[in-house]
């Protein structure tokens, strides 16, 4: 039987909305509904609603769950408070990044590990095999969960106004939930887990909902949001939004041959914790001398460097390669993330991008390219 791409629990809604689909990590997901630029601007100025149900969710339950995650992932997850989230990494023994993850502590003895769609199985397997000595339940719960993100300056107002979505008594209100914290609600008498997290550089929420309620919740959110400027938003604008926000994408800026410090994620690895974990020794040993590091590049004009394009010094010597690039819809000029030689990585360094034979001047800049006004 051929491997047909999987459809999201919200697939019918996307078809009805006229979405264009793309295959992404084995899933058929909306790439855009109308115009990816319009969707991008809507998220920056009002709000967008994204279906990211392809993400993987793995539940880890047991009295030693925190201790186990400390010994398996790069961060100190045992220190998370109830309903707090943390960005972390799963490393291999060479210190390379197997996946980047968000981990929520959603119960005293329970954590939810959120993995990229392409890495769901490898993460689930790594956690399951590591868990044997900890007496834990590690369960891939992805197939039962749909994930809807509402992102943008109007996100809180929209989620608050959504009819039928009620915060569980005693849990934080949406106004009270801080960034990288979570709260719990009910919808159709079933639980919805809501994190104040996202991948766009805007304020926003990610709602983990039972697949049986996904379509109804999407509809309720859009009914509440449409008068406030909420639009359905696809993966195309999700990519330009995260790029402007300087956020890495697995397979582009992160990979099994790249150490966290090369990606500027050294701070994510909790070397202060008193426990061994995969990749620790390699991270402590450090990247080899001359290993390339991730930088942001800005250029003038409208021709953008793309993933795979060479970055060269002003004399034409190759110094690196672009991993993601686009004409920034918000800023109006080309931006790119690139791995370059350390001696070409200082902010302000003048470099050039080889755009299909022509050399476009580019300057190393600080990340992110865009930050929202707080």
């Amino acid at each position: 039987m051929p491997d047909l791409p999987r459809s999201s629990p919200l697939g019918d809604i996307h078809v009805a909305l006229g979405a264009t689909f793309t295959d992404f990590a084995g899933w058929s997901m909306p790439v855009k509904y109308s115009s990816d630029l319009a969707e991008h601007h809507a998220v920056r100025t009002a709000a967008g609603i994204f279906d990211i149900s392809h993400m993987g969710e793995i539940s880890v339950r047991g009295a030693r769950a925190g201790e186990f995650l400390d010994a398996t992932l790069a961060g100190r997850l045992s220190a998370l408070e109830l309903m707090q989230a943390k960005y972390t990494l799963l490393l291999n023994e060479r210190g390379g990044v197997v996946d980047d993850l968000i981990v929520y502590r959603n119960g005293a003895d329970e954590y939810l590990v959120v993995a990229n769609a392409s890495n769901r199985e490898v993460v689930a397997k790594a956690l399951t095999s590591a868990a044997t000595s900890f007496d834990l339940a590690v369960t891939d719960v992805s197939d039962g969960i749909a994930l809807i993100a509402v992102q943008g300056p109007r996100a809180q107002e929209i989620v608050e106004k959504t009819v039928g979505l009620d915060i569980v008594p005693g849990q934080a209100s949406l106004a009270e939930v801080r960034y990288y914290r979570a709260t719990a609600a009910t919808f159709n008498e079933r639980n919805v887990f809501i994190g104040r997290t996202g991948y766009t550089g805007e304020d926003g929420f990610e709602l983990y909902v039972d697949v049986r309620d996904a379509a109804a919740l999407w509809s309720a959110l859009t009914v509440a949001g449409a008068p406030l400027g909420l639009v359905p938003a696809g993966l195309a604008c999700r990519d330009t939004l995260r790029l402007e926000a300087g956020m890495p994408l697995y397979g582009h800026e992160l990979g099994t041959d790249l150490l966290p410090e090369q990606a500027g994620l050294g701070r994510v690895v909790a070397l202060a914790k008193d426990v061994d974990f995969p990749g620790r020794a390699a991270v402590e040993a450090g990247a080899p001398e001359g290993a390339r590091v991730l930088v942001g590049l800005v250029a003038e004009g409208r021709r953008a460097g793309r993933a795979g394009y060479a970055v060269v010094a002003t004399d034409g010597t190759p110094v690196g390669e672009i991993t993601s690039g686009a004409l920034s819809p918000t800023l109006g000029h080309p931006i790119a993330l690139a791995y370059v030689d350390p001696d070409s990585s200082a902010v302000g360094t003048q470099l050039a991008i080889d755009v299909r034979g022509s050399r476009i001047p580019a300057t190393v800049t600080t990340l992110p390219f865009y930050s929202r006004k707080k």
Binding site: D36, L37, A236, T240, A304, L327, R356
Partner: protein, 124 residues
């Protein structure tokens, strides 16, 4: 917008409107939609010679780069400066204000598609 049934089409998703010995060339709505929002257009120099089937320009969207092929041999007699200034015209009016180049030609190549054949090609 021209009558789409009077146009010629290529398998590279370009359309050609013939007026005497001048071919006006653009990309189809199907191609524009596949590219996504066009943000940059590079066109050949006016006065230059182009060879059918070769790349003469670029059409970039937020997420990808498309190449513009010359559908005929000939001389570029005009390019659309308006679309260079406002590439979104390729999406909003691909058969009208989003035209790209005009080429003076001596003969149309074999293998161009008519409207029925093109719509069959793209499955619409």
């Amino acid at each position: 917008m021209p009558d789409l049934t009077t146009l010629h089409y290529t398998t590279e998703h370009e359309w050609i409107a013939v007026d005497g010995d001048v071919a006006t060339v653009g990309i189809t709505d199907f191609a524009a939609d596949k590219l996504g929002d066009v943000v940059f257009v590079e066109l050949p120099e006016v006065g230059g010679q182009v060879t059918g089937g070769t790349v003469v320009g670029e059409i970039e969207s937020t997420k990808s780069v498309g190449e513009l092929y010359a559908p005929v041999d000939g001389e570029v007699v005009e390019t659309n400066d308006t679309v260079v200034d406002d590439p979104s015209l390729v999406n909003s009016d691909p058969f009208g204000a989003g035209w790209l180049v005009k080429v003076r030609f001596t003969a149309l190549p074999d293998g161009l598609l008519d409207h029925d054949a093109y719509t069959a090609l793209v499955g619409e």
